[in-house]
């Protein structure tokens, strides 16, 4: 196996194998990997780079799980623990609408006491502010938890939430599927198999979702390839994933103690680029600037990335873990960032319909 044999395959539009993906991770030829990823992306998306205008609402940080990589979760009696009531959620949704948001992104902790009705009401509240707002809410981990609270099957839970206004699902909680790593990172969280099974139900229920991968902690390159393989296989069956989002681990303030201070710039760009090459059945690869920083996120547009997430307002989870990026970027700032990379900014909605070209 050589870089040029892999390049030949990519040029021919063929799928690369797990071993080939691993070879790329172990290669130091950053520019060659970037060129292949840029080629794959150009075929799919041309010059266009997506962003959307959204607002994150993290409705609670109280969580029954204690994941080692998380600096956000609290117990109910810990200082800084909070839960928004429906009025606070409504106020945030109104504010977002006034700022031109098309999407409300809701994820939170696994709260020990909130009843299932709260989640339905939360969705109805946001849709009540404007039926035009798309609500992208609840990771597969939360769906599993809500089903247990409600005493419902996963399909029934999804039907209830969809009826209350759920538009699609974010891709969080995937972390790394490998069981050995997962048992150290987040032993109480649902397994990788369960995450994938829930996403399959989500897609069967006619809902789209995203997919993430948390990297740069205890995993090895083989775990990243394994993670992407399982996503590629599920995507072959359902086609329900809209975008893949690698998330760079932010070690500050988290219980997980590592020697390194976080991922390196080369690792970030390689991971994004290799995911673009390997996940040939995903339309979009997103650089989450909140965790990568604006500079690397912008540079990643030359490394196969075609989506820069939204003009996030009030992000808490990454920032609690020490992310040094600003809390929000305006539409103008994101447009300027894309243009300065020589690309065409396109505002999209949550389902990747194009709203406006800049």
């Amino acid at each position: 196996m050589t870089l040029s044999s892999i390049a030949e395959k990519v040029h021919a539009g063929a799928r690369i194998t797990d071993d080939e993906a691993l070879f790329l991770f172990e290669s130091n030829d950053l520019l060659a990997i970037g060129e292949l990823a840029a080629l794959v992306n150009r075929r799919k998306n041309g010059d266009r780079v997506f962003f959307n205008v959204n607002r994150h609402i993290n409705h609670t940080n109280i969580c029954v799980n204690r994941c080692a990589f998380c600096a956000f979760s609290r117990t109910a009696d810990q200082p800084g623990a909070y839960t928004y009531d429906l009025r606070e959620i409504e106020a945030r949704a109104r504010e977002a609408l006034a700022q031109g948001a098309t999407e409300i992104h809701i994820v939170g902790g696994l709260h020990p006491d909130l009843p299932f009705a709260f989640y339905r009401e939360m969705l109805r509240t946001v849709k009540g502010v404007s039926p035009e707002l798309h609500v992208k809410a609840f990771t597969a981990v939360e769906i599993d938890y809500l089903a247990r609270i409600a005493g419902l099957s996963i399909p029934d839970t999804l039907r209830e939430l969809k009826g209350a206004g759920l538009g699609s699902l974010p891709g969080g909680g995937a972390e790394i599927f490998n069981e050995r790593v997962r048992s150290q990172l987040c032993p109480e969280k649902i397994s990788g198999e369960r995450w994938l099974a829930i996403m399959e139900e989500v897609h069967r229920a006619g809902l789209k979702s995203n997919a993430t991968m948390l990297y740069g902690h205890l995993e090895v390159f083989g775990d990243r390839v394994d993670h992407m393989r399982r996503l590629r296989e599920l995507q072959d069956r359902t086609g329900g994933f809209q975008v893949f989002i690698p998330l760079a681990f932010q070690p500050e303030h988290t219980p997980l103690k590592l020697e390194k201070k976080g991922t390196s710039g080369v690792d970030d760009l390689k991971t994004l680029a290799i995911s673009r090459i390997y996940l040939d059945n995903f339309a979009n690869i997103k650089a989450y600037w909140v965790m990568l920083g604006e500079k690397i996120a912008q540079v990643s547009l030359a490394f196969g990335v075609n989506d820069l997430d939204g003009t996030v307002v009030e992000e808490k989870i990454g920032h609690d873990a020490g992310a040094s990026s600003p809390q929000a970027m305006s539409r103008e700032e994101i447009v300027a960032m894309i243009r300065k990379a020589g690309r065409m900014p396109v505002e999209r909605d949550t389902l990747y319909n194009e709203l406006r070209t800049f």
Partner: protein
């Protein structure tokens, strides 16, 4: 256009201003990076990335120049204006030596009252106490100021400072070597030819120098290209530049304000620097303005050196940009990109490999 330029670069030819302008404004980032990386690997085939262990000592923040892009300067009567005592400076150098540092980078404002005797006395004593430390200090603007305050010609000033112990001169204050831009951002600072006069004199005396560029303020792409060609031409004309160091304007707390250059812009200018200035051996990545992640990526866009570990840095920090790096982090960063890491002297001799 790209194919023609690539052919020229690969065969070791030199591109012209129009081609450089095209690369900067129209060229694909990875394509420009690829050309720069080719030159970098030709000039440095040993897969080595170097850094120096150094300390900035900013002896005064009193400055008559009052550049609009600067957040560090103070008027002499300001409450937080300072001039370091000689003993304080020696103490800082002792700390540098204690951590295995080899380079002292002393820089300060254009002080209205510090004549050449002040510097001569200081440099002689530094040489006497710390003969192992390379005194890599001042900048053309400071040297011109010392000449003015002392009523001396610039060449005589450079000669006397050299004789007193100034080993080499860093290329700060170059900003953009185009006088229209200098008028906008630093109207009271020497013009580009004043900068060149000092560097030519230093080269004539056999003193090594470096050249910098601060971009991302009010210059146009054509100004950046002009800067790169002027540096290349100075070097071709007997210059003694060991390294070129582009970095980005930091707008925090400055009169000029505005935004800093983006990551993609930085990498493209860096790569273009490598392509145009093929007669200066080393190109430094600026982790101080770009952060560790971008500095690592810069190693694939023409940079072969990470500059100094900077035990102390005050000027960029005053503009709200406060990245820090230890020697260990630098080694880790270099290895993580697949290169061998080495500590070097100011003149790029290898001090130790990791």
């Amino acid at each position: 256009m790209l194919a023609g330029i690539a052919e020229k670069v690969r065969s070791g030819g030199r591109i012209d201003r129009a081609e450089a302008h095209w690369l900067l404004t129209e060229g694909d980032l990875l394509a420009v990076g690829r050309l720069a990386d080719g030159i970098r690997r030709r000039l440095h085939p040993d897969n080595l990335v170097t850094f120096v262990v150094d300390r900035n000592v900013n002896y005064t923040n009193v400055c008559e120049s009052r550049c609009r892009f600067c957040a560090f300067y103070r008027d002499q009567d300001a409450a937080d204006a300072y001039l370091l005592e000689a003993e304080e400076i020696y103490r800082k150098i002792e700390e540098l030596v204690a951590v295995g540092g080899t380079q002292l980078l002393m820089q300060g404002g254009l002080h209205p009252a510090l004549g050449i005797e002040w510097f001569e006395r200081l440099f002689r004593e530094i040489k006497r106490r710390f003969p192992q430390v390379q005194n890599h200090s001042l900048s053309p603007a400071e040297i011109t100021q010392i000449a003015r305050v002392s009523g001396l010609a610039v060449p005589e000033t450079v000669r006397r400072l050299h004789k007193a112990g100034l080993d080499s001169i860093p290329g700060g204050g170059a900003e953009i070597l185009v006088d229209r831009v200098r008028q906008e951002i630093s109207p009271k600072k020497i013009g580009w030819e004043g900068w060149a006069v000092v560097m030519r004199e230093a080269a004539r005396l056999g003193m090594p120098t470096t050249a910098t560029m601060m971009f991302g303020s009010t210059e146009t792409p054509a100004d950046i290209v002009e800067h790169l060609f002027r540096v290349r031409e100075l070097q071709a004309d007997g210059g003694s530049f060991t390294a070129f160091i582009p970095w980005t304007y930091q707008p925090g707390n400055t009169e000029l304000g505005g935004k800093t250059a983006t990551g993609a812009e930085y990498l493209k200018v860096l790569a273009l620097s490598r392509i145009v200035i093929d007669n200066i051996p080393n190109l430094q990545a600026s982790w101080v303005t770009q952060g560790a992640k971008m500095a690592q990526v810069a190693l694939f866009f023409g940079a072969n050196d990470l500059g100094g570990t900077m035990l102390e840095e005050n000027v960029v920090a005053a503009a709200g940009c406060t990245f820090r790096m230890t020697k260990e982090e630098m080694v880790e960063l270099i290895r993580g990109a697949g290169f061998r890491a080495a500590q070097r002297s100011t003149l790029y001799r290898i001090v130790g490999e990791f």
